[in-house]
Symmetry: D2
Subunit: 333 residues, 4 copies
């Protein structure tokens, strides 16, 4: 079997997951190298899988055995690292979001075009069985014309480390809700054309101090004439609470997350269902599918399922959200 030689760059939690998946589950890939600026991390992961390890990203890019890199570093580092990799002739998979700003995103797109290399952005929900089935039911016409997209997204807590700084992460609209805008575009088959935002920093002092928001409601429209609503919160006391639905002229698809594990305690007060504690749990298979699809698209020399343009679009939407919030008015894209 033809295999793609891949390297994972940035060995935080998500990077180690990609390394594990590429090693154990993606038959079409051969993990050949890993890289992190923290030497212990790089060596530990490298030795575990018996592959080369680097602390110097430039050195890794010089390694001609590497066909493609998985960039899983903090968002604000993406632009430079992606462009360098493309210029070194590597195919690039980057974790979401692609960049912090849309001008960065456009630089990245240009570099990919110039290099003639593949570029994919990791919105892994697109590969989750439930969202895929929603997409497929919509495409089959089961719900008629899609008219309304709704997502209620509550994360268990405030983002840690660099992600708490909206200048490095893009803030709630990009760091958290770009998943939901990507899903909106994916399921509706249309572009977001106007956004109107309400929101505030109501839950965490550190979020307010850094200039980010932690509770938002967004009303938006699609190029198709359809409508959308997204509510995002950085707090959900019992675990993830993530629900999406698309109403069409003839039906509705629902994707939910409130039951995993499916446990309930029946006591005097009622039926208590256990909270959702997954992080990889539910979505691990989605990451597997995502990595496999990128690898296969490169091997088969076709466009990856989530392109740089997809990456750009959600960055633009997030920027429009910030503008709407600052200017207290609907903003047209």
């Amino acid at each position: 079997m033809k295999k793609l030689n891949v390297a994972v760059v940035g060995l935080g939690r998500i990077g180690r997951v990609h390394a594990e998946i590429l090693f154990t589950r993606v038959d079409e890939a051969r993990l050949v190298a890993v890289s992190d600026i923290i030497e212990d991390l790089a060596r530990g992961v490298g030795e575990k899988y018996g592959v080369k390890w680097y602390t110097d990203y430039d050195k890794l890019l010089e390694d001609s055995s590497v066909d493609a890199v998985f960039i899983t570093t903090p968002t604000f580092l993406h632009k430079d690292m992606i462009i360098k990799a493309l210029e070194a002739g590597k195919h690039v998979f980057t974790e979401k979001p692609m960049t912090v700003t849309s001008s960065e995103a456009r630089e990245v797109l240009n570099a990919a075009k110039k290099a003639g290399r593949s570029l994919m952005v990791g919105y892994m929900r697109r590969f989750d069985a439930a969202y895929r089935r929603a997409k497929s039911e919509i495409e089959s016409g089961k719900i008629g014309d899609p008219l309304v997209y709704i997502t209620i997204a509550r994360d268990p807590g405030a983002p840690p480390g660099w992600a708490a700084d909206p200048k490095k992460s893009g803030g709630i609209f990009l760091d958290m809700l770009s998943h939901d805008f990507d899903m909106a575009r994916f399921l509706m088959g249309a572009e977001v054309s106007k956004v109107y935002v309400e929101g505030g920093a109501k839950l965490y002092d550190e979020i307010r101090e850094k200039g980010d928001l932690d509770v938002v409601t967004i009303n938006f429209t699609f190029s198709s004439g359809a409508f959308g609503m997204i509510h995002g919160s950085r707090k959900s006391v019992f675990g993830y609470d993530l629900r999406t639905e698309v109403m069409g002229t003839d039906g509705t698809v629902y994707v939910g997350s409130q039951r995993d594990p499916n446990f309930a305690l029946g006591v005097k007060e009622g039926l208590l269902y256990g909270g959702v504690k997954w992080f990889w749990g539910r979505f691990y298979d989605a990451y597997v599918e995502e990595d496999r699809e990128f690898v296969k698209s490169v091997l088969e020399d076709r466009e990856p399922p989530i392109t740089g343009v997809d990456g750009l679009k959600v960055v633009e939407i997030a920027e429009a959200c910030w503008r709407s919030w600052r200017e207290k008015r609907p903003v047209t894209l």
Copy 2:
């Protein structure tokens, strides 16, 4: 419109519900009389609806304006009252169960046959929208051949008053679970042919003292070769917990009760759903439909939807359950 003149006998909670329904919701019926040995109760309900009221049941039976009686007195009084009514030429609707013993049930059947009058037993779940849909899906072949019937039935508390005495109520197998055996026969379209019971009085001292059981598990078979399991408990701390399912060769139907009202509280411990507090709530419409169907079957001179034979069958099953429990062995019917 041709109307049936009806009387309600026994004005406890369930009797008053039948009176209200017959007055307000069943266009084909004309409530003409009510009766109870407690004078205040009889007069109060009679005056509310502007109808005759009796404290003497024999007098009511002499009232020639009465075509049919609804007998809603305690179970142990049913046999004599039903037979008297039939002998007086009245059609009879009796609350479930029809009688305490199967020999009583056969006396009642004979009297109905001799009198040539209609006799119906009130297993109102047969008229509930969810069970009806289950029945209709089974009949349409959606689940293939029905192979397994399962009910888990937990009541909120021990039965009050006379119903606490198994000699007067038939105990848990008749007073409570005859609903479930009736449903088993109804949904499976087959007779119960063998029962095996385990159980005990584990929850309430008064139940143990009176010789009744409060927790039972029943394994049984149908004449069709299908299998059944019923679990009954006289306690459910958060409200009714009643679930039935029928598995067939090609699918399964489920009827549940755990969500009414459909309220949840998401707190640190998880999602807490409110308990089920209905008594009439969910099933009120089933009572309406039940009363209407009895009235219409009499007016149209056809067999009622739940016959005296149906009433007998579940009494026989309950007796077999008691025997299995006493003799610690499977009992064939």
Copy 3:
């Protein structure tokens, strides 16, 4: 027991329900008269309950035995009928919404003040067990400070008759979604301060032709600094689909409607849950409680639980929604 003599005016579906409830379930009320311009309807209901019946509303108002009227006529008739009743010295319960416009609503408020009579508006969801429990959990502090109110409301079909004309009904924001704005004010304990609307007539030709909308998304804020989102649709193919949630700093309350009856069919494609077909089913008890609370508040000479000011507020919100939609901008109240 002291009783209030009540009359029901307008004997369409909802009027007949109030008549039945006042006759059968509200011990503190005595139904003494009914009225409708259709003589057969008035006579039929009057004779059923053995009460006076009128076709001339003015005559009913001259009837000194009537203490209070329940006005259950089309919305565009409310203003004149309420004011006449108040001027005749009657207490008034009016079905929702109170009036078509806020200037009408203010006329009504003035009339009530001048007459010194009680005025209540029938937003019966406030009396439903699930919403009540949500309110009580919020008030008890279980979810901390309420931060976000969300409702997704889908009705099974386009409104019939006069309600299809937004000039007579107030259109989707008033005729349908005033329930949800009333619930927003009730649960959040705060006023709606700004609304932003997107929407269109996408489902029914007749709605577009009459100038009403059938799909809307609304982003709004509360005087408390909290946020809100409402989505309304005039179509839901499987029955009512009505869900509300309030997220607070420490938890969330959810009220839903997707399970009644609680039936599921497990087939090859998955688990198919039966649609929600209730109209009175779930909410019948809420109407009972509502009527009883109005009657008791009059008898006890205290403010009714939903006042004319409550009625006015939601009319104002609906007007602001229309303005936002026409002017494509957020509108401050």
Copy 4:
């Protein structure tokens, strides 16, 4: 960190999962060898992880670098392989069930005792988050004294290969339902003392021909005086359908599986929830936890969480089930 050197024997689906988990997720283990009689399989897995590979089990047992073996071969091979490993001084983890018969199980227990080596049986549901929470709520006293254990277990299809032969697999009571009896013992903290079985081969011709059953209902009791019901079916058209509950004097715990992924399609017929397609999905983490606990218990020289006696008990229960079914009577253990 002290590490345990482990080998995996039998590289079918479940064996490869254990190999992957031991390599990637269990820090306390070092995968040093794998073995399968199919050379390609042994070599493929061995090279993937860079470890020794054997086709001859005896050779693997001579390898002194191996501290413990994971036996993941067909059930009927377990007894000999476990005993050989113990005699070679290895600690043993065996997939469930431990053996086909209870006399085999006792041989194994004796061998473990004589060898002084650790022996664990892989009932991985004990390590699933939902079952663990159920256990912990029961132990904390939340539901009072456990009175009733109920499991409804439907597998998607008939067992393939050797497992279709009850002489090699132990049939439905051992191959499939020993999971549920193990869970019964685990959650109830009591031994099964009597079983009564109904059942048949109703779904698959090949199952009937081989003398196995595919639909069973089991009524049983516990040494504590509590009761149990288990229903097992080898068919569930929409995917796994596995539900367990324990009712106690003060409440009930429920563990379910009907929602994964949590997808629904709202169409005219109702709300269609997607079926459950997991095999590793939901339980992968349970396997991880299981392997880790075995490895840690050996390193820390303490009894494994599921002992050989646990393995024996469920084999004895399965045998009693077969006897009850053949002799048509309750069988006491």
